[in-house]
Symmetry: C2
Subunit: 132 residues, 2 copies
């Protein structure tokens, strides 16, 4: 069912410093910061030849990643995102397998339908599925 790894999301404690690490130290191509108020994050895309790294920094109150940063003050990998063809079918398959879907299908940061899966059901990893 899952297709490509769409991105790996990394929460950073300092967006400018994190961007500099990927751009200057690791020599990757990075985007300008993009504010996504409806998702409570600022993101910088690190473009690799086969996939993306997304650096995430909290934006506004109630950012969904604020708690992560409290627990992990240095940042770290927040989730991995796999592509699927049909998000409704994916949700049904997950539920049939007894895996917990967190909340409802929503429109994600790329303006595509997404859902999140409980880390305890996926090897300790928060998994996002995105309809490609």
């Amino acid at each position: 069912m899952i297709g490509k790894l769409n991105h790996v999301a990394i929460v950073v404690a300092d967006l400018e410093a994190g961007t500099a690490i990927y751009r200057d130290t690791l020599g990757a191509k990075v985007s300008a910061p993009l504010e996504l108020p409806e998702h409570g994050v600022v993101t910088v895309f690190v473009e690799l030849p086969n996939t993306k790294i997304e650096l995430l920094y909290p934006l506004g109150e109630n950012s969904p990643i604020a708690k992560y940063l409290e627990k992990n003050p240095g940042g770290g990998v927040h989730h991995v995102c796999y592509e699927v063809d049909d998000i409704e079918a994916a949700a049904a398959k997950m539920q049939a397998a007894g895996a917990r879907v967190l909340g409802d299908i929503k429109i994600g940061a790329h303006n595509k339908p997404v859902l999140f899966l409980h880390p305890k059901d996926f090897c300790g990893t928060l998994v996002e599925l995105e309809q490609a």
Copy 2:
């Protein structure tokens, strides 16, 4: 400098269960378990169209991932691996940038030269560089 994302390594608490999650629940193509005694791990490759997920489980005493599993009993993302053209040049560039290379350049699990970078210098993420 960095090229493709070669793999995301996920430490699992139960290799059979973790393999079943990726194969059956997520519907991905997975390899048979591969024992790598010299690296202290058993690995299962999850083949995605653009990259790989590597499920890691401790093998033998002194496995380098045993401590990770003690701290994270449910497992989780252990490291991300980026490809580079020249590992010696990459090591020199990291040191010039003041980033900590952990130990020496070694031959990694894919029989290619690799090095690891300190998570505190890379947004809280353990980074492996592999000469492609």
